[in-house]
């Protein structure tokens, strides 16, 4: 099996992370924001797997597992909130949630 440069794996993770960040920063649709967050978390998971493959460890994968868990929980709670939000505001525009400020 040929070797893959470690940096390429990490660079891929960094790119995905950055793209996810752009998504969070630009999208007004809260569902998209949530999806972008998933991208970021996934990128972190990817980074762990890459790092784990550097060491040949299983621990990195366990960490990925945990990330998976928390992503699931977060999505569950997040979607629950989105449902409530849609009920109240009849929109998924995240800018609506700006009543508290100053």
């Amino acid at each position: 099996m040929e070797s893959i440069p470690l940096e390429h794996g990490l660079i891929l993770a960094a790119i995905l992370f950055s793209v996810g960040l752009i998504g969070v920063l630009t999208r007004r649709n809260i569902v998209f924001v949530l999806m972008s967050l998933e991208i970021m978390l996934n990128a972190s998971g990817l980074a762990f797997i890459v790092a784990a493959s550097r060491w040949g460890h299983a621990e990195g994968q366990i960490m990925f597992l945990m990330i998976l868990t928390l992503a699931a929980a977060e999505v569950a709670v997040g979607l629950g909130l989105i449902i409530q939000m849609f009920r109240r505001y009849k929109t998924v525009d995240i800018n609506e949630l700006s009543e508290m400020k100053g």
Partner: protein, 490 residues
């Protein structure tokens, strides 16, 4: 590694907290009873804290790679459990009239406490993340808890969404940073990032620095350090008060313990640029927090902004830990966190006691003339505010003293100067509240904090005030405890 029963003994407080939650959940499943659920939670947390306190000076063990149960973590376990218990007591009257199912709140509170206990005992990335997310997850729920209530504003929902989204961003950054550290060191345990083992070549100092900074930012968000602080006032304002207290006290202290362990163990401060970054964050936090609070009218927001500044103060001691010999700066952090818990719970507690899920008395105007309408509450509130401002006779002063001392020993003159400026600005808005309470009362609606429901809450306030004053005048007992436990960190 085989986990034996003996290994579980040090985990007793954690187990009790978990058991409490499960018992409460089961009880809810059988029959919904608000008082019973609350009672179970409070009792469970009390037992957990008692057990933790009793084992505090005997336990010192690493339980699996994930958790370290030493005196330091047990101290914070006690602190966390007690605080959670006090918050549960405050929550009881607050939620009593909520027109929705109220019992799950205590489940969330219990689970959050489990997360916090895990965090304070964590010296491993996995447990850190799990503890942190458990805590956060419950807090999303607690923050948005009254979301169904017709009386409640839309604020809880907004607060919760804000917290969730931003917190997830921060988690992402934190995790990415951890991954980079893992790539560098090859272990998920907290370990020195400076002396990476010889056999496997390191990935360079720059790599370590970026990794550490990303982790720091993830943590800084939870500590609401500037410029990652902006969620704080909105989330505090929108949350029901007990959740705010939870967020402001346990949420902060548990995170700070992690940060402390992480920074000390990874020897992150041996990089100059990390020191610079942390110092910069500290300076910006102190100034921004205090300036933001300056003319604020909402008490929750004032306390939120001030918490930004307080976390900035704490960073000073953290930075100092690199320069000083001995444990003084760790002690400073510990004592200040303790003091901060006492006064924050107290200050928010006063607001909480007069508020309920139907109506929160959050505006500074509501407290005009409190000194004459309700001297007791006003006295407690004044004590807490003065303590936050660091005035003698209060525990906050001793905390400030610790901070100053570690700053002086480390020679952090710029940070000290900023600390002084920040405290000076801080005086203004704390005294502004005090002054309002001293004015003659306005006509109009007052709030009711009497009634049998509130007895517990008043008891808590009395306890906190006593703690505030006694430790402010004679801090020696606590000082010696902290002196002992701080040895565990280094």
């Amino acid at each position: 590694m085989i986990t034996t029963l003996a290994d579980l003994l040090p985990l007793l407080p954690l187990l009790i907290a978990t058991a409490t939650t499960i018992v409460a959940m089961t009880a809810i499943g059988i029959r919904r009873n608000y008082a019973l659920t609350a009672g179970i939670t409070i009792a469970g947390l009390l037992i957990a804290s008692l057990v933790a306190a009793s084992t505090m000076f005997t336990s010192n063990s690493q339980v699996t790679p994930l958790l370290i149960v030493d005196q330091y973590s047990l101290f914070f376990t006690v602190l966390t459990c007690v605080t959670a218990m006090l918050i549960a007591i405050f929550s009881f009257p607050y939620l009593a009239n909520l027109d929705d199912s109220k019992e799950e709140y205590y489940l969330l509170l219990g689970i959050a406490t489990i997360g916090a206990i895990v965090m304070v005992s964590s010296n491993h990335f996995v447990s850190t993340i799990l503890g942190l997310e458990t805590l956060s997850m419950s807090l999303y729920g607690m923050v948005a808890y009254p979301v169904h209530s017709k009386l409640a504003d839309k604020f809880p929902l907004e607060a919760s969404v804000k917290y969730l989204v931003l917190s997830a961003v921060a988690s992402g950054i934190l995790l990415f940073g951890m991954a980079l550290i893992y790539a560098q060191t090859g272990t998920l345990e907290f370990s020195s990032i400076v002396n990476v083992t010889k056999e496997t070549p390191g990935l360079g100092a720059g790599f370590s620095i970026v990794a550490l900074i990303m982790v720091f930012i993830g943590i800084a968000f939870k500590l609401s350090l500037a410029p990652f602080h902006m969620w704080t006032p909105d989330v505090y304002e929108g949350s029901p008060l007990p959740a705010t207290i939870y967020l402001a006290t346990i949420g902060k202290s548990a995170m700070f313990v992690v940060l402390l362990r992480l920074i000390v163990t990874t020897e992150a401060l041996s990089f100059d640029s990390i020191i610079l970054a942390i110092s910069l964050v500290a300076i910006v936090s102190i100034l921004a927090g205090n300036l933001l609070a300056l003319l604020q009218d909402s008490l929750k927001r004032i306390l939120a902004y001030s918490s930004i500044a307080h976390m900035g103060y704490l960073l000073l001691a953290l930075v100092a830990s690199y320069y000083v010999q001995g444990t003084i700066s760790v002690e400073a952090v510990t004592f200040y966190l303790f003091a901060y818990m006492v006064m924050s719970v107290g200050a928010f507690g006063v607001i909480s006691i007069v508020s309920s899920s139907e109506k929160e008395f959050d505006d500074i105007d509501d407290y005009q003339g409190l000194f004459w309408r309700n001297p007791w509450l006003a006295a407690v509130f004044t004590g807490m505010l003065l303590s936050l401002a660091g005035i003698p006779l209060t525990v906050g002063f001793i905390g400030k003293f610790y901070l100053f001392f570690s700053g002086v020993e480390a020679g952090l003159w710029i940070l000290l100067a900023v600390l002084i400026i920040g405290s000076g600005v801080g005086l203004y808005y704390y005294l502004r509240i005090v002054y309002r309470m001293l004015l003659s009362p306005k006509d109009g609606e007052g709030f009711n904090s009497g009634g049998s429901q509130h007895i517990g809450s008043h008891g808590v306030l009395a306890f906190l005030l006593a703690l505030l004053l006694i430790l402010g005048v004679y801090p020696t007992p606590l000082v010696s405890i902290i002196e002992t436990i701080s040895l565990n960190i280094l």
